[in-house]
Symmetry: C2
Subunit: 283 residues, 2 copies
Amino acid sequence: MSEAAPSDPQMQTWKVILAYDGTDFHGWQIQPGERTIQGELQSALGRVTGEAPLPQGSGRTDAGVHALGQVASFALRAPIPAESLLRALNRTLCPSIRILDAKIVPSTFHARHSTLTKTYEYRVWLQTSETRTICSPFIARYALAYPWPLDKGALQKAADCFVGEHDFRSFAATDPDSSTRGGTSEPFAEGSQAPSTIRKIFSSCWGDQKSETGNLLVYRVRGNGFLHYMVRNLVGTMLDVGRGYRGVEDIPRILAARSRSEAGPTAPARGLFLHSVDYAELS
Amino acid sequence: MSEAAPSDPQMQTWKVILAYDGTDFHGWQIQPGERTIQGELQSALGRVTGEAPLPQGSGRTDAGVHALGQVASFALRAPIPAESLLRALNRTLCPSIRILDAKIVPSTFHARHSTLTKTYEYRVWLQTSETRTICSPFIARYALAYPWPLDKGALQKAADCFVGEHDFRSFAATDPDSSTRGGTSEPFAEGSQAPSTIRKIFSSCWGDQKSETGNLLVYRVRGNGFLHYMVRNLVGTMLDVGRGYRGVEDIPRILAARSRSEAGPTAPARGLFLHSVDYAELS
């Protein structure tokens, strides 16, 4: 259950990429009596290899949040070919969790500590009274059905405000371990007690995505780390701007306030996908 | 709870079109202690109108089977505008059941008895070892992940054999009420005890459907009625042909045998969708 790099020379460090439908799980992190992705993966490793290391994720995803490319690392003694491990895990895992890739990496690799950037996606289904569009049951698990018309230009202007290095305290959950969740490298300010709420956002864009049953509005954001609930709070606030309930000029003010109560509501988990995680190199 | 046309002149007959993700339901038909589509719709009608007629479906769908366009009919005394009924039902139903349309129809309309044709769709995800394609968690609920390469030409040739009027007894479930389930009009042969297993198929085609995460093979079949498990048994048998385990020439022989044991396996529920139901006119 240790996170330490394997000192045993026979141990090999593995990096796996996973996709999951988070709807029926209590998030990533293992919890007694709850069905979690980390717990399912640990059990599957146990069934396949007889070893049950606790896989370390690039970050926790909350209950109901999905992943297209979550990354986890763990160490195994069993000398198993990568293709065999991948197939065996997918055979024993439930179909709502899939291993997309598995490979042996240098023992210094750690799915959370080695992270450079993470990309999240948030999907919105427009359900406006003008179009009376009804959200298909096949989309409802994977998007927020939004009942108000949205100004796409205003949404993008709001999204632009987040690019760069900012203190995102206004967009962090107010729970005690807010900034230590879902984070990558945790930048503690020198001599300070509280973990930093400063993060750097590299891109922040709204786009369209055609789906079988209609069009989705998709927000994609890449950054060096995200506070707990940060993406969902950014989205909830931008949607307030998109529907005209707030102005774009409110965003810099909300950032400056460093107070959760200034920002908009937390968008529901079902629309959020951990899209991908980037590392320095093939580490 | 009566199926009879409303004799009370204040009663109005309603036709609704529904879509549902059947994964978490115990099929269409109401059953004590089980979550069913019919039961959820009846409860929703009760919450919205204070009346709780038992909605009649165009046919039962089994546990795990989905619908893109199921049709149900019921009678209500409440004089509620169609648009209001649709909105109110969608507000109270869970997101995995959606009412797509609601309208008042002549009192002679009955969702099952008035059916002319029904169309089903079966979705297959090709997961062959050559491509090592991994079935996305976002498709797994809605398709059969098939592990063998398939000859599409052979699949279509097999599908062609079903067009026309045939006795489909070999493709019916062996349960006692096999032919009375999922059926439309139930053609009892004159003076006979057993319900007929003859059905007419108007079209039977395999095609491709692009999805976000790859291509699906989709079988679409339209007929004047379907026996219990019939589409899933047709698909299971055609897949045997497509992978080369049976020849196309086996199909006429299986039809002629009128014996379930001659046909292939029952394809899983998760790939099956009730696509649409057609009626004579705006009845």
